[in-house]
Structure formats: structure tokens, C-alpha cells
Symmetry: C2
Subunit: 248 residues, 2 copies
């Protein structure tokens, strides 16, 4: 099988392929986070690096699919994948049925599609808020336009949020089940990563820090006492830059 | 009340004093981790910075105790404190009674004293291994000498491991209930911090990374299939140096 991915879908496909002893090819952008590339290879997949953004890697994946006769698994605009990601919403509801608001990052929109449908099906009163980088708000622009739009340019460097064009399925789900989309710049999201490290002792990647960043910046409208869940969607960051640091 | 501390006991005392509405004075070394100093102040304690190492801060604390008529709480050589830290061992055993080996960092020896007594009382077959920095192995030297020794010099910069002279009580417990003490340099311990960030997605401080570092370096003798617990004793690190980093 073959997929394109910013990096976390890559690892999921590589791991699943290994479990089922299927050959997997993963196409990632040349500037993908090195730790994600390495982890994908360690799970046993062949990694092809192409282009500077997921959209370009995806074109390459479709080409290789044709050439090699592989089965293609889209990283976000796939109904079975969305259903799988919905299990996160079901688990949240099982653990914390008092939830009033869920804040979820949006890249291509797969995660928030699954989570929003699962939570709204469990309790329609739960508010779902999406978060994008203002340096590349592909879903927000699409919702505002009323149809899927392709961004002319994209400045966010956060790989999990860096998509020029969201999916048709995900757009349709978000339009229907997501109550609001808020945005803030990469800079504020990176600061929230440090806040999460300091207060929660957790390492999360930029996309995962975006919901917390939105909360810290007061972008989420919720009444006092609201029970809010932030989805921390991944923890694969470039730690090479921390080598040799003294921590005390 | 008053205490001296490298930083985590400081926060515990400050928090407890706040709960019971007691005034707390905490003496820390001038080079204490800034985040620990700030957190201790945020919990409501008066922080006095003195000396370059816990041992010097502790002399100051004893002096202030006399001058101001305060109650002194030792950061490791206190039987009630050790009993409190033993609850960590009880919790480990409750959650994971199959445990074969526990690996615990040693600074002044309070944590490992409580944990070793609790685990040995639960199952005497459990092996307890202590870990110190080879840049300041105050407990290992004492056990080898058969009595508490004061190190002439200490090079470790890891605050939770940086003690020139361990306690009399803790020495006596470690001598009796700890099966082995292994050491490795700060450098290897800092590398293990990054490994823990990468694989466990957790932020831990140097002292907490020491047991994992010892495991990664093959210093813990245990037969294949052994069930090993590493105690991650804290997560207060200097994150200021990460400000402004780009993570993708």
C-alpha cells in the first residue's frame, strides 16, 4: 500500500503494514520532521521524500500508486480513516461524559471530522472548536467561502497543520459538525508547547499544542466552569536541536 | 517552618504550608533551577538563596531556624518524610505487584529510603538499585567506606543529585535495603532526558532521568524478561533556553 503524510499518518500506516506483513511505501515532503521520517523507516516502510509540502508529496504518492499498482490510503480524506479517528472522540466521551467543549487541531481535517461526529453523536450539546495556524488556515477559508479552496501560499511550518487544500469529505463534516474555527500564529503555538512542557510535563508537537495555545490566548468562547478537552494529537518534534543542552 | 532544598522538597513544603496556612521559609542554593525557585515562591513561601550547593543552603537554614525560632524540616534525613516518600513504593507495588527491580535516583537518599523499605516490606525479593551521578557519588562512596563520608568536591550540576554528604538515616536504610548503587556521568543522564522526551513524550529533570540512563547503558543487572520500574522523580527543568526554538 502507499500513502502520503506529514508524518503521523506515515507512522500509523507503517506500523499497521508491519503488523499485517504488507509492504508500505510512504511519501513525505523533503522537509518533513526528521524524527517522523526515521520512525516511519523504523516501523519498516519505504520512505520517499518529495516536494516541500504535503500536497506535493501527495501528487507523488498518486503517481507511484499508478506506476507500482499499490493501494492508496489518504491521510485525512478517507471515510474509514475518519471513522478510526472518531474512536478518539468515543474514548474522550467514555472517560469524561461531562465534557462541554472539545478543541481539536485541523490539518487536512481528518481528526476533527472523526472526533466531532463521535462527540456530537454522543451528546449534540458538546461544542467542537477547530484550531488552525493563521499562517495557513485552509479549512477556515474554505468554510468562509462555502466550498473547498486551495490556499495560494502557506507560511506555517508546523507540519501537522500545513495543508494547502483540505479534503472534500472533511470539509463537509467540518461544515456540519464543527461550531467554530479559531486561528493563531505559529509563534504563539510554539510558546504553548513550552507551557505544556512546563505545566503538564508532556512533549507535544506544534499541531497538538495549537488547542492549548488557543485556550491560553482566550480564543475559545466558553462560560466559566466549562469542562474543556484539548486534543493533544502527537508528540513527534525535532529534538536534535536539544542535544548537548545542560538542563540545570 | 523552614527547610533547605535543591528544589522539589522546597515546593512540597511551600505547598503544604499554604494548605495549612503556615508561614514557610525555604533556603535554596543561589544556582538553583530558576523554575523551582519561581514555583516555590508561587506556592507562597519566602525563598532565601544562599551558597552554591544544597549543603551550604542547609547551613543557612539551620542558622535562620535558630534566629527566627522556626521548625526545621530536613529535605531527606527525616523519618516522617521518608515514610511519606515510601508511599510511592506502596503505590508502585499496588499498581504493579509483578515488579522484579526498582531503579531509583539518589540525592540525599530520602526517596530511595522510603521506596526501598516499602517495596522490600511488600516483597523482599524485589531488587532495589540506586543511581547517582559519577560526578558526585556521595552515597556510593559512603556505602563503600561503611560510614557517611563528605565528598571533597562535587562536579555534577544535576540539582537533585548534587549532595556532598548524605543523611545518617538514609545511609543506614540504603546500607540495609538497597542492593546496588550504579553511577554514570551527567552527560549520559542529559542524553537520557532526550530519549525520554522522544520515546515517552515526558519532560523529566536530570535526577529523574538517571534511572533510565542507567538502564539504557546496561548498568542494571537483571535477567531477560525482568519487570523493571524506573522512578521518574520530577520534571522541573530549565526550559527558558528553549524559548524561540522552531520545532519543525
Amino acid at each position: 500500500m502507499i500513502c502520503s503524510s506529514a508524518g503521523n499518518h506515515a507512522q500509523g500506516v507503517a506500523l499497521a503494514a508491519g503488523v499485517y506483513k504488507i509492504k508500505a511505501v510512504v511519501v513525505m515532503a523533503s522537509n518533513a520532521t526528521p524524527s517522523k521520517v526515521q520512525a516511519t523507516r523504523d516501523y519498516g516502510a519505504e520512505v520517499v521524500l518529495h516536494g516541500n509540502i504535503w500536497d506535493e508529496a501527495n501528487e507523488k504518492a498518486k503517481q507511484l500508486m499508478q506506476e507500482r499498482g499499490l493501494t492508496y490510503i489518504h491521510p485525512f480524506d478517507d471515510l474509514q480513516l475518519i471513522a478510526g479517528q472518531g474512536t478518539l472522540g468515543l474514548e474522550v466521551y467514555e472517560d469524561f461524559p461531562q465534557i462541554d467543549v472539545a478543541v481539536v487541531p485541523i490539518g487536512g481535517g481528518g481528526l476533527i471530522s472523526g472526533v466531532s461526529m463521535a462527540l456530537k453523536a454522543s451528546n449534540p450539546k458538546i461544542k467542537i472548536i477547530g484550531v488552525e495556524s493563521s499562517d495557513g488556515p485552509a479549512m477556515k477559508r474554505s468554510v468562509e467561502a462555502g466550498h473547498v479552496v486551495t490556499l495560494d501560499k502557506i507560511d506555517t511550518i508546523i507540519d501537522g497543520l500545513r495543508v494547502k487544500r483540505v479534503g472534500e469529505h472533511t470539509f463537509s463534516v467540518v461544515q456540519r459538525f464543527v461550531d467554530d474555527i479559531v486561528t493563531l500564529p505559529d509563534k504563539d503555538i510554539f510558546e504553548a508547547m513550552l507551557w505544556i512542557m512546563s505545566r503538564c510535563k508532556l512533549v507535544v508537537e506544534g499541531a497538538a499544542a495549537a488547542p492549548v495555545a488557543a485556550l491560553l490566548h482566550g480564543l475559545i468562547k466558553a462560560s466559566a466552569g466549562s469542562r474543556v478537552v484539548a486534543v493533544l494529537s502527537g508528540g513527534n518534534v525535532n529534538l536534535d536541536q536539544l542535544k548537548g543542552l545542560k538542563w540545570n
